[in-house]
């Protein structure tokens, strides 16, 4: 049966995720209201402004149902602002889902002038690599990006910057990236997410 994935579409770069998922023969639902979460096989929390998304998620009663999904083991992936939403601690008073045992720092590199691209080594992506992709670096696009400052032992770091800062991690079926795989043509991260068992 075709699987159905949701992309939280309150604000931010949700259409980029929707487009990539549509190329992967899964059904895609844009989620703005709680009833749109029903029977999803996974959910992506896109980049955007985490304060905006958090306030809208609270206003439209999305926080509890998404938290329950994540805790039930349904795959949930947060990119950038989505990663902030997933964290138990973001160092700033704002609405969060608070499901993942990570502490994140917002705007960790500074303002837009410090936004950057760099190649990342992500061994976990080799699990879904097809010919020619094995061991290839992944181009990370970091926009006013957060980092993972610390994490519990049950969290696995998937990618680090040269200086050791953790920028991607996984805890069970919860996935977070500080960078934006939806802004590149490299679909490995999306395939990796779809490979998480539901």
């Amino acid at each position: 049966m075709t699987k159905t994935y949701g992309v939280l579409a309150l604000q931010g770069a949700f259409s980029e995720h929707v487009q990539i998922l549509r190329q992967m023969s899964v059904q895609v639902v844009e989620v703005r209201l709680p009833e749109q979460l029903a029977e999803l096989d996974g959910l992506i929390l896109p980049g955007g402004e985490s304060t905006t998304v958090g306030k809208l998620a609270v206003a439209y009663n999305l926080v509890e149902p998404i938290r329950e999904m994540a805790l039930r083991g349904i795959p949930v992936w947060g990119t950038c602002a989505g990663m902030i939403m997933m964290a138990k601690d973001a160092g700033h008073r704002q609405p969060l889902l608070g499901v993942m045992d990570i502490v994140v720092k917002r705007n960790a590199f500074g303002r837009q002038l410090e936004s950057f691209e760099t190649d990342l080594t992500i061994p976990a992506l080799d699990e879904i690599a097809v010919t020619g992709e094995l061991g290839q670096p992944f181009r990370g696009v970091f926009i006013r990006a957060p980092v993972i400052e610390s994490f519990a032992p049950n969290v696995q770091a998937l990618a680090c910057l040269k200086d050791g800062q953790v920028v991607a991690a996984q805890q069970g079926n919860m996935l977070v990236t500080a960078f934006h795989p939806e802004l590149s043509s490299d679909t490995r991260f999306h395939r990796y997410f779809l490979s998480l068992a539901t």
């Binding site: 309150l10 604000q11 931010g12 703005r32 809208l56 700033h92 936004s115 950057f116 006013r144």
Partner: protein
């Protein structure tokens, strides 16, 4: 690991992609900026005067005081934008030196150059520019703008020009899509736009950057109207802080942009917002005082 690259086209356009589906609000004080952030703005535009006051005040409108801009940057965690005059590349250099997140090379300020816009490729900070039609949008992209907004007529609280400009841009994109390749060069000539960008738009059916609406949005329904017409988000200038209850109106416009396709939600958030800003008939504005015609 390879080196770190900053100020790339991808990160310039990328920040605008993160703003999509959101509302960028004009603010003139730290207090306004906090109200905007609390209401769910995805970014703020730091200014000394909102466009309605610039219009009323008259005289030469310039870049805002760096002191005000930095205080607003320090007060909020969301991105902060600021305006420089068209062609005033030194104002842009100053804003970049302040570490602003986005520069709006704006017709709302008095132009510093009546023939040339800023060469925006020369900067690491991204720029947003206004347009009234596709040719103007593509000329700005050719100069290095990483985000486009339709101009509307700022400071009027009248959405009619915003609608006109969004329809012009989106309609011209649809027209290009229907063209045969041999027609693209003539279209580029007619639009006054770089050929490569015309080809890109004809093939993809969209602008290669994010496109917001601006200039005259005053109500949640105005904002949802622009979203349904096909823009990626809205700028609200005078419409919020010139209204009776800015905090409520700001939050309502944010919700209307997210749920632009849900009339029941737009109705709900529109209830009891109090007076909107007083509007201006476009025909009542003398030709030389219209802002949208600035830019070339």
């Amino acid at each position: 690991m390879a080196e770190v690259e900053k100020g790339t086209w991808k990160v310039k356009v990328g920040l605008a992609q993160m703003l999509k589906g959101g509302v960028i609000m004009d603010v003139v004080t730290v207090e306004h900026a906090k109200i905007a952030e609390d209401a769910g703005a995805c970014a703020v535009m730091a200014l000394e005067r909102v466009p309605a006051d610039i219009r009323a005040h008259g005289g030469v409108a310039r870049m805002s005081d760096p002191e005000l801009i930095t205080r607003i940057m320090d007060a909020v965690t969301i991105p902060v934008m600021a305006k420089c005059r068209i062609g005033h590349f030194v104002e842009a250099q100053v804003l970049e030196a302040l570490g602003i997140d986005y520069i709006d090379e704006s017709e709302v300020l008095t132009p510093a150059d009546e023939e040339h816009h800023i060469n925006k490729h020369a900067f690491k900070v991204p720029f947003v520019c206004g347009c009234r039609n596709l040719g103007e949008a593509l000329r700005r992209l050719g100069e290095g703008a990483a985000m486009i907004r339709t101009k509307g007529e700022a400071g009027t609280g009248n959405v009619v020009e915003a609608v006109r400009h969004a329809r012009a841009v989106l309609g011209e994109i649809r027209r290009l899509q229907g063209m045969a390749p041999e027609e693209w060069m003539a279209a580029a000539k007619e639009l006054g736009a770089p050929y490569e960008l015309v080809v890109q738009v004809a093939q993809s059916g969209k602008l290669p950057v994010v496109n917001f609406a601006a200039g005259g949005v005053a109500t949640p329904a105005d904002a949802a109207l622009m979203m349904q017409l096909g823009v990626d988000g809205v700028f609200v200038g005078s419409g919020i802080f010139k209204s009776a209850d800015p905090a409520r109106r700001a939050a309502a416009i944010v919700k209307a942009v997210t749920h632009y396709n849900e009339p029941k939600i737009v109705a709900e958030v529109s209830r009891g917002l109090g007076e909107a800003m007083p509007g201006l008939e476009i025909a009542a504005i003398p030709e030389p005082e219209r802002l949208a015609v600035r830019g070339w």
